[in-house]
């Protein structure tokens, strides 16, 4: 196969990361959801919440497995596909990558203990304490890997001495300007996404069967979390845009089709470009780009014209950005609607329409994660290390990348399909009602345990 190794390396990296990020996001968010549910269960002495935590944890085991193996794949592929990048950048980013592994290690140990010790402690509270290291470990691994990605966007913490990195300061590299906003946005969006997916599954169950107390409580809990983290995500997205305006203006300009530097810039939503690079058919929100970029409707926003042609990101990232933002507002909107309906006595929050919207919000949230990453990574083009090394210079020159791409594609198809099949089987074979009765038999007799 005579395909360009650079192109194939990019495709293979996108494939693995695009697949890994689904499970990574679940891996960051699930522990928090499990922890919250178990905490409520112990606090309220409500076996329904305990059962939620148990069932979520059981499903989580399957997705963690895929997260771990695809993560191992991307970790190795970074060296296999981008050897030149790792040789140079490895000098500066080894520290967060190394710390990430420790975070995984920590998480893995306590997750193992958590899963197999449900009834081994005298006080249920002791078992809940085990969720804390898992939540922290998962969160920290996201933090560390995000600092690496931040470094690729705004490299800092070294001096360049004829082509070699000198005077390396690993801490400064980790605390590069992109880190704070990125970490904030990545964490909040992981939490909102997982809450939305769990809500979607619950809403689907209610639509299919009749409603039970168990499902109602689950929906109420997850939708509350969607609202909280949804608002935080939008807030974090806003500060991310302000960060871009200051430190990576070409990425924001590409996303907004903002060609000329001007004050009081309009926000362009959707539309398409004609041959003269003018937006047509778009929705124009006056002066909102200036507000998004600087928090001031009359501020000046740098346009793409200030950058040479060959370092401008592709313009199609506009759609990625718009879709992500739209989904962000949709998630907040749906969760608000549900919560308002559940507050007002006369209205029925388990109306078919609302439940269908909630079912939709789960996949939408995961799509927003994908769009967001594609925007973030494509918006950095042509650089792999902004200002220092291009993607082309970084890639391997091995002719076999094409074949490997096919192998990995097949692997991910098998893993993805099996994951869905197994999860469905797992929950269909043990319905909630049967399990509640088995685990907490006293419940049936009307005792409060």
């Amino acid at each position: 196969m005579d395909l360009d190794p650079v192109l194939m390396s990019r495709l293979l990296t996108s494939l693995t990361l695009g697949f890994h990020i689904i499970f990574a996001t679940l891996g960051v968010g699930m522990p928090l959801m499990i922890s919250v549910a178990e905490f409520l269960g112990i606090k309220k002495k409500d076996t329904h919440y305990l059962m939620l935590a148990r069932r979520w944890a059981r499903g989580f085991v399957i997705t963690v497995a895929i997260g771990v193996v695809t993560g191992t794949a991307i970790g190795l592929q970074l060296s296999l596909l981008w050897p030149n990048f790792m040789q140079v950048a490895g000098n500066v980013i080894a520290l967060p990558l190394f710390m990430e592994v420790f975070a995984f290690f920590f998480e893995a140990i306590f997750l193992g203990i958590y899963l197999y010790t449900w009834d081994r402690f005298k006080k249920p509270f002791t078992h809940w304490l085990l969720t804390l290291p898992v939540v922290i470990g998962a969160g920290m691994s996201a933090v560390f890997i995000t600092t690496v990605n931040g470094f690729m966007n705004t490299p800092e913490g070294f001096l360049l001495d004829n082509g070699h990195f000198a005077a390396v300061n690993p801490i400064a590299a980790m605390l590069n300007p992109a880190t704070p906003t990125k970490v904030f946005h990545v964490l909040t969006t992981a939490y909102v996404t997982v809450a939305a997916i769990l809500a979607a599954i619950t809403a689907f169950m209610i639509l299919k069967k009749k409603t039970s107390d168990y499902h109602k409580k689950a929906l109420q809990l997850t939708m509350t979390l969607v609202l909280i983290f949804g608002i935080l995500s939008v807030l974090a997205g806003d500060v991310s845009a302000k960060f871009l305006a200051e430190h990576q203006p070409e990425k924001l300009a590409a996303a907004e089709w903002h060609f000329e530097t001007e004050a009081g810039a309009d926000l362009i939503v959707f539309g398409w470009l004609n041959d003269a690079h003018e937006a047509i058919g778009e929705i124009r929100i006056p002066k909102f780009l200036s507000f998004l970029a600087h928090g001031d409707f009359n501020a000046e926003v740098i346009g793409l014209e200030e950058f040479p042609e060959d370092v401008r990101p592709p313009l199609w990232v506009h759609y990625m950005f718009d879709l992500m933002v739209m989904i962000g507002f949709t998630l907040v909107g749906i969760s608000m609607l549900y919560l308002i309906f559940s507050r007002v006595k006369k209205w029925n929050e388990h109306h078919k329409g609302i439940l269908s919207l909630i079912v939709l919000s789960g996949p939408l949230a995961m799509l927003a994660i994908e769009f967001g990453w594609i925007y973030a990574e494509e918006g950095r083009q042509p650089w792999i290390l902004r200002g220092y090394m291009t993607v082309e210079e970084a890639a391997t020159n091995s002719p076999y990348v094409g074949i490997m791409f096919i192998l990995f594609l097949a692997l991910y198809i098998v893993l993805g399909t099996l994951c869905v099949v197994i999860l469905r089987k797992l929950f269909r074979n043990t319905p909630v009602e049967a399990e509640l009765e088995k685990q907490y038999p006293t419940l049936e007799k009307g005792d409060t345990k």
């Binding site: 193996v69 970790g75 190795l76 296999l80 596909l81 050897p83 040789q87 140079v88 080894a94 020159n397």
Partner: protein
Amino acid sequence: MSYEIIGITVLWLFLYGYLIVASVDFGAGFFAYYAKVTKKDHIINRLIARYLSPVWEVTNVFFVFFFVGVVGFFPDTAYYYGAALLVPGSIGIILLAIRGSFYAFENYGSKNSNVYMFLYGATGLFIPASLSVALTLSEGGFIVEEGGAVTLNYLDLFTSPLSWSIVGLAVVSVLFISATFLTFYASRANDHAALKLVRGYALFWSTPTIIAALTAFIFLGQHNERHFNNMMDLWWMLGLSVGFFMIAMLLLYAGKYYGLAFISVMLQFLFAFFAYGIGHYPFILDPYITIQHSATHESMGIALVIVFIAGLLLLVPSLILLMKLFLFDADYVRGKK
């Protein structure tokens, strides 16, 4: 000690750790499948599942730790090994992915699927075989750099007796280490039927292990004389290794002190592995990468060592807790919890 020596020592220790925990895991997968084929699965598979379920993820992290650490301490390894290992590395990743995820599927999802069991058993032997290629490559002669491009000479690799002897050694060691561990675990669980079976496996795989080790050593001498001679200078370590092997065999035959027998096997591999590693010094990849010239910047090296120590302070107590709960809690091992 300079930071690069600390770095390589730490990494080598971790690779040794992976060698032991992964061998137990890989071998157990094979034995579980073998027992199924020979209709003895009712005897040992519960025992294997009880040990493996809580710890499989931890095993994988040992490996990730090693390769992330190597690239961190010695970024040149990414350039040479990364460029050369694309194909064997990718195959290794795919095998690891199949194994890890299928283990979870089998264990938590659908029980007793024959296809899963087969894949689980087969990957247990193929993964050590494909990972061991990295050790063969480090001996030099297979990876060449010409005109700024690094390539792997597949023909030489596949026709080299050294590479096949290392593959053989990897596979039989996995089975031997695993069988000894399972013997110890079965005796803790007071499971006499399982004990009898796995003790048989352990005794069976001991002889091939020592033969494969000698064969690989002889072929190493033909391929890389410098490394061979360095190891000969460490004759006392090799001697200790053989000594511990003898002790393990005696205990296994006597049918006593299985815990001690497993520790002896661990020491046997510790000394052999370190004699091999020290003999390799100063090269990481003969002749392109040496420890001194490829080390990362001093500030990064020191930061990594500090993080490593801090990480250990966090991990060692957690690991001890894990072992207390699952390995040394007699009630758990016996299946009462």
